[in-house]
Amino acid sequence: MRVRIFVTPRQGILDPQGRAVETALGNLGFSGVSDLHVGRYIILTLEAPSKAAAEETVRQMCEQLLANPVIEDYRFEVEPG
């Protein structure tokens, strides 16, 4: 299975990096940008008997290591093949 994991700063937690990048875009002349957040994108290949099994494994990976639930949200996509 091909897995894509997106980790982003948790909603409501100050994200100074996102704020700095948003300001920089504004300075470059890109107007109308808001709610910018900088996160992490993780891709991996996983051997699993089914898509559901892979999703459960990835969820545990995120909870235990790939994201820190105190400060980060995550979501992922699992694609067979």
């Binding site: 937690i13 100050l14 100074p16 990096q17 700095a20 290591l65 790939l66 820190n68 105190v70 400060i71």
Partner: protein, 229 residues
């Protein structure tokens, strides 16, 4: 009492902790490599500052899985004293031995300066040689020291007195802007609910001799020894 300092790949301040304890405070100290599984007969375990595992993924996130951390967790569960300084604090949060998390400084800049912190609770093994309201000058040097926890958790920390050290401005006032990294509630150091695990961003081991600009760090170590004698 016996002190054990854990050395991770990327630890930087392990030798400074050993120096402070052995040379300045005449304590019995040994260093253990993170691959070791036994802490031996430790009374207090110190996780030192540095950049364990290059801060990959998140600060402290990988060190948490070092073989020694199983023993550290067991030691803490049994009531042993654990002190995490800077990266050690980050590791303790990632290992869920302390609440909350440490994130990028609000300024996005690495801060390297003398910080002023105020003692908020003295009924602990880490602060019993201090008084509430005492102001300490301790160096900080970190890029990710902004303490964050959910609002309800912060409230509980405050109610239970788990916030042991708080940043104050140079004039000893406290409020918005008194924290050099943007920490919530200007938190510089927190303990767990049992008060046997303590993490702080400032470095007491760098403030043990007048030559270093402050000797205020000694009080933290002296509190720990006093609590066990």
């Amino acid at each position: 009492m016996k002190w054990v300092v854990v050395r991770f790949p990327g630890s930087l301040d392990d030798d400074d902790v050993v120096y402070a304890l052995r040379e300045v405070l005449a304590q019995d100290v040994s260093i253990v490599w993170h691959r070791t599984e036994s802490l031996g007969a430790a009374d207090c375990v110190v996780l030192p500052g540095g950049f364990s595992y290059g801060d990959y993924l998140r600060c402290g996130a990988i060190a948490r899985f070092s073989p020694i951390m199983k023993s550290v967790k067991r030691f803490a569960t049994e009531g042993g004293l654990v002190l995490g300084i800077c990266n050690g604090f980050q590791i303790l949060c990632e290992a869920h031995l302390l609440p909350g998390a440490l994130t990028r400084n609000e300024s996005l800049s690495f801060v390297c300066e003398m910080a002023t912190v105020r003692v908020e609770n003295r009924q602990t093994p880490f602060t019993n040689q201090l008084e509430i309201g005492d102001v300490l000058r301790l160096p900080i040097k970190h890029g990710e020291g902004r303490y964050v926890a959910p609002e309800h958790e912060l409230r509980q920390l405050e109610e239970r007195g788990q916030v042991l050290l708080r940043y104050v401005a140079n004039d000893e006032s406290f409020g918005a802007g008194s924290s050099p990294n943007g920490s919530m509630h200007a938190i510089a150091g927190v303990a767990n609910e049992r008060f046997n695990v303590f993490g702080l961003m400032p470095h007491p081991e760098h403030a043990v001799e007048a030559l270093l600009g402050s000797t205020d760090g000694r009080k933290i170590f002296e509190s720990i020894t006093a609590s066990r004698t």
